[in-house]
């Protein structure tokens, strides 16, 4: 094998000595250029893995090392020593653009697939497997926080509350397996939402917005759909998984940018809740049909809500909206 150049460091001081190296036929590596000749059997020399075109290092058993920028020569040493294996494979992948592009393609497929199917699938399994007691604790905490911050006690007349509660109880009897409960709250715009523990919160404004009880029931059926599919739990699990994963993968970039890490998780979470809304809508559709309530009731209240909120989200922002476009949802309930 031909001679190649290197820089020798004895490991005791910072002294750098330019040397030339040569491997003889008996696989002994000779280092020339030092005050005393140095030779090591190749089998006892550890060779640093190839990494881009960075300088390689040969580590000798006595703690000395030799830096070599001649990658071809060091690769040949590795081959002669018969211990390249995995590190060479990794370098082969890292050094060619076609593999890099392939890796990029696979990465995008994996990430998109994982975000679209993988995490929701796992979150659904975990949500279904979560004990009812744990889910209840989660829900109780949520309502307490909301009561302290956003919500106020309901100001609906007692008789209205009792009437709707009675109708809700009749609905709940259809789903004995669900731990359903109804809460009236004020202080927020027209809205209804489901909690992880099976609680359904309705705001005063929503009841006041409705023109008949069947409209409220249609919304409640939609929320029971969320409870049935354990959406709140799934969202919480998906959200925390995404935050955890994205902080793991983008963690070392936080010093470059902080906004770029938040963006993907916002984007995917918006997509998740679109799917959840569609599932809950389907659930409500079935309930309305079975209870012989006209589907139009849901469409009516949605239209009233849409008017209250000030129009539909249009154009490019649609995919970022957490609900599917309202007009699209209304159409489902109006078409037979």
């Amino acid at each position: 094998m031909t001679r190649f150049a290197g820089t020798y460091y004895d490991g005791l001081t910072t002294q750098a000595t330019p040397v030339s190296l040569q491997l003889d036929d008996a696989n002994v590596l000779h280092v020339d250029g030092l005050p005393a000749p140095v030779a090591h059997p190749l089998a006892s020399v550890r060779i640093s893995a190839r990494l881009g075109n960075t300088t390689r290092a040969l580590y000798f058993p006595d703690g000395a090392k030799c830096d070599c920028s001649d990658n071809v020569a060091v690769d040949e040493l590795e081959r002669r020593a018969g211990k390249a294996g995995l590190s060479r494979l990794v370098h082969a992948l890292e050094s060619r653009w076609r593999y890099a592009l392939l890796a990029g393609l696979l990465l995008v497929l994996l990430l998109v697939g994982g975000a679209h199917w993988g995490i929701p699938f796992l979150a659904r399994r975990a949500a279904d497997a979560m004990p009812a007691a744990m889910a209840r604790d989660l829900g109780r905490g949520t309502l307490e926080v909301l009561d302290r911050t956003l919500l106020k006690p309901s100001e609906l007349p007692q008789d209205v509350q009792q009437r709707i509660e009675g109708e809700f109880a009749a609905m709940a009897r259809h789903y004995p397996e669900l731990p359903l409960s109804l809460h009236f709250r004020g202080g927020a715009p027209a809205n209804a939402f489901a909690l992880p523990d099976g609680g359904v919160v309705v705001t005063d404004a929503l009841v006041q917005l409705s023109t008949n009880d069947e409209q409220v029931l249609a919304v409640l059926a939609h929320e029971i759909g969320h409870v049935h599919h354990r959406h709140a739990l799934r969202m919480a699990l998906e959200g925390s998984t995404l935050v955890l994963l994205s902080s793991a993968y983008f963690g070392d970039v936080t010093q470059l940018t902080t906004l770029s890490t938040a963006l993907p998780s916002v984007y995917t979470r918006a997509a998740y809740s679109r799917d959840c809304e569609t599932e809950a809508d389907t659930f409500a559709l079935h309930y309305l049909d079975e209870s012989h309530i006209p589907r139009q009731r849901f469409a009516d209240i949605m239209r009233a809500l849409q008017k209250e909120m000030g129009g539909d989200s249009k154009g490019g922002l649609q995919y970022l909206a957490s609900h599917p476009p309202t007009s699209e949802r209304i159409k489902r309930f109006e078409s037979r």
Partner: protein, 358 residues
């Protein structure tokens, strides 16, 4: 030297001029194209192996950046064993899992876990610094961290108290004190690192950042109050927030860049290594551009330009760093049985890395 005038005897001992310092530039020679391929392959392998490869990816990445950072013709080396990094990551993952798991399970268990985390912090910090130092080398001489866990506990508790008592006003001092501990307990071979930055530098950096933020906050407050005062329309208030945020975010970016530049200069520029010293001349306005371009590039490329952004930061940091060397840089390996290095051998028992770098 001037010849001696006739008749004057030559002086007895020869005059040896003190060695002039040499100004040595740090240089980062890595390329975004090369690092992109390494990064994307390593990220893919990490995901495919469900995170196990992340330890190897971390070592390769760090080695890539170290080996491409040159000073005085030689580059740095990162020598960590990926298996030890993996061990550290598994411990950290289990600990975090316990923390998040116990959160939903029982309050006493959660509080116990949080308490354990708080208690373990100084120990983990010392371990991580020691691991990082021991696996960093230059010219085949390794760095070492000699800080003691006990000392770290005292410092940590004292600083926590000071921080609480002063309602956070002592934060720059606390940061200075912690950095001082981290820097001055480092050895390069037998050379100790000294640190000459002063707390007032930290106060000045944060004051400057605050001054940059104040006008933006004032404008935001004015806009918010004006819109709220007009009429009780939540939608209008939300619309008014948009221009307010458009003022605050650039101000925040500028303040962050200025503070970061000053802190980096204080950290690196205060370091003395034996007779040699470092200087760092990062500028806030450079960092504003650097961060802004990185942010836009990373967001618009959906993360694909992360390697490019990292290489840019490394190149900027290195190109503004200088080593002033007096005579040759000479250091010797500290024998393991010498005082100050005994902890190094012992530390191998609980050896792990959590990814904190100085």
């Amino acid at each position: 030297m001037q010849p001696y005038p006739a008749g004057v005897n030559a002086p007895g001992p020869a005059f040896v001029p003190p060695p002039r310092e040499r100004e040595l530039r740090f240089e980062f020679t890595g390329s975004a194209k090369e690092y992109f391929r390494i990064w994307i392959v390593n990220t893919l392998l990490t995901i495919v192996t469900l995170g196990i490869y992340s330890a190897w990816a971390k070592v390769r990445t760090k080695q890539y950046f170290y080996r491409h950072t040159f000073v005085d013709g030689t580059s740095f080396e990162y020598l960590a064993d990926p298996l030890k990094v993996l061990k550290g990551r598994i411990i950290a993952a289990v600990a975090l899992g316990l923390l998040f798991g116990s959160q939903h399970y029982s309050l006493p268990l959660y509080l116990c876990t949080v308490g354990l985390f708080v208690l373990a912090t100084p120990w983990v910090l010392v371990k991580a610094l020691a691991f990082n130092a021991r696996n960093s080398a230059y010219r085949n001489i390794r760095f070492a961290f000699t800080g003691r866990t006990g000392e770290a506990y005292g410092l940590y508790l004292g600083m926590l108290l000071l921080y609480l008592v002063t309602c956070g006003l002592a934060y720059p001092y606390v940061q200075w004190r912690m950095t001082s501990f981290a820097v001055t307990r480092h050895l390069y071979g037998d050379l100790r690192l000294w640190w000459e930055s002063k707390p007032r530098g930290y106060y000045f950096a944060y004051l400057l950042g605050l001054l940059l933020m104040l006008p933006a906050y004032a404008i935001m407050m004015a806009i918010t109050f004006a819109s709220v005062g007009d009429r009780h329309d939540p939608a209008a208030a939300q619309r008014a927030m948009l221009p307010a945020l458009a003022i605050v975010y650039p101000a925040l970016l500028a303040a962050t860049a200025v503070v970061r530049a000053r802190l980096a200069n204080l950290l690196y520029g205060g370091i003395r290594l034996g007779p040699h010293w470092l200087t760092s001349h990062q500028r806030g306005r450079d960092l504003v551009v650097l961060y802004l371009v990185n942010l836009v590039a990373v967001v618009c490329s959906l993360g694909l330009l992360i390697p490019w952004a990292k290489v840019r930061v490394a190149r900027y940091t290195a190109s503004h760093l200088r080593l002033f060397a007096v005579g040759p840089i000479h250091a010797e390996k500290l024998l393991d049985d010498e005082p100050g290095a005994t902890g190094v051998g012992l530390a191998d028992l609980g050896d792990f890395d959590i990814g904190i770098g100085v």
